[in-house]
């Protein structure tokens, strides 16, 4: 039964990802992205990391997607008729191939845990303790960076308003 769900989620992830790349309508592509992200959340659940799954839904499915959709819908995407491919297509293909090769190499060289059937669950409390205990300094640094970004965004937005 679990396998069936795994394949369903996997198909959702891959199908959504393909949709992002292939669909012409940019909002439909964003919808594909949502499907893909939610599929990932489903796979997390199958791996018994509910916390990660829920956070995935909350952050990616919720907050990040809203920004993307907002941006896409408020710009006049439907009138965007021109071809999005440039004349750098061959270069892009080369880059993509290199990336793919790197991924495959990394995949092959990683030492995976032997027993796939056994899932080691990480208690939610441990994550919290690690985040605020051992990794407290990087965590705070990161939030400082985010705060700076936030303030910067506000300043830019205020400037634009003032110019008008």
């Amino acid at each position: 039964m679990t396998e069936v769900f795994f394949y369903i989620f996997a198909a959702t992830v891959i199908g959504g990802a393909l949709g992002v790349v292939l669909l012409r309508n940019i909002v439909h592509a964003a919808l594909g992205l949502i499907g893909s992200l939610l599929g990932v959340a489903g796979i997390y659940i199958l791996l018994s990391v509910e916390f990660l799954a829920l956070v995935q839904v909350l952050i990616y499915g919720g907050a990040v997607m809203v920004l993307i959709l907002f941006g896409l819908m408020l710009t006049r995407t439907r009138e965007l008729k021109e071809n999005l491919d440039g004349d750098q297509k061959p270069l892009a293909a080369v880059a993509a191939l290199v990336l793919l090769g790197t991924f495959i190499a990394a995949f092959a060289n990683t030492e995976w845990p032997r027993d796939v059937g056994q899932i080691t669950t990480v208690p939610f409390n441990d994550i919290g303790n690690a985040l605020f205990g051992r990794w407290a300094v990087p965590f705070e640094l990161l939030s400082g960076v985010l705060l700076v970004a936030l303030v910067g965004a506000i300043i830019i937005a205020m400037q634009e308003e003032g110019e008008q």
């Binding site: 710009t75 006049r76 021109e82 071809n83 491919d85 440039g86 004349d87 297509k89």
Partner: protein, 376 residues
Amino acid sequence: MVTEQHDRSLEVVDIPINMGPQHPSTHGVFRMVLVLDGEVCKDVIPHIGYMHRGGEKLMEAMDFRQGIGYCDRTEYLAQFSAELGYVMAVERLMELEIPDRAEYIRVILTELNRLSSHFMFMGAFGIDAGVFATSFTYAFPQREYIQELFEEVTGDRLMYAYFRVGGLAWEVTDNFVQRVHEVLVHTRQGLRDLDELLTKNEIFMVRCQGIGAFTADQAIAYGLSGPMLRASGVPWDLRKDDPYSVYDRFTFEIPVGNHGDVYDRYLVRLEEMRQSVNIIEQALEQLPAEGPIVAEKLPRRLRTPPGEVYSKVEAPRGEWGVYLVSKGGDKPYRLKMRSPSFCNLSALREMCIGQFMADAVMILGSMDIVLCDVDR
């Protein structure tokens, strides 16, 4: 494969939104095009004329009695004021002397009409502000009592055709004074209800205050009148400054706003209703118990001498004026109505620019327009 070069800079587009003629908050078949930058109005283009029936021209083809019915239909929320303005114009041309009793009944009914019209405003304005019809249902039952009184007296709920040249169409009912007192009990309750519901409500205040503010100079420049003008701080009321009928026999107060915004217009109307109750009570005390209700020596067929006259009354929405030119005979040669709704509406664009879309709705609501009156 090279695509055409296009401008990479972000192009900001304003959204024109068509509001009306079937939008729930345009108070009839009014249409405006809002040019929105996000939620803020950059421009407002009002479109009127959906209700235009050529009322003025129609009335030129009718004798003076027939025209009264069209006054009702033009200002269908303040019918008695409209009738009074028209009837007074003809009376001035004919130099008629109106009996006291008729004048008092006219004042009582006109002030009751002001109450019913302002009740309508209170209800609709609450809906514009987003109260789920509660203000409406507080105002309307009380308005209904007034309507019932009108129906008992005139025979019709809306199109009274009761004020006639020279007086009134017929005598009031026997228990008229008592009935008015009964109605006033309900009116006071309605005023209390609405006052409690809206006036001090913080959300209502924050929605109204500072919105669509006009200074006294602006208001005069735009030719505003009535509560709109008084809210801007100009103590101009025709009942005080150019007393007609028997208004110079009453003591009352005229509320004048100090900020000129939507909230002041609401407060002015609320206070005006209290003053109307006050005037009605005084009029009921002074009302002669008996006496004629129609001027003496009134010919059966009304004919005016040639001449022109402008008569104006303080209608609930402002100055309702009738300009009448007669070349003799039983029909007006030219008739022009100065309708308060139309003149007040002209300030809409100026008030709305720079405000939020939701505020534009509130501003339009605070004008309390009657579309039939605007288009005629």
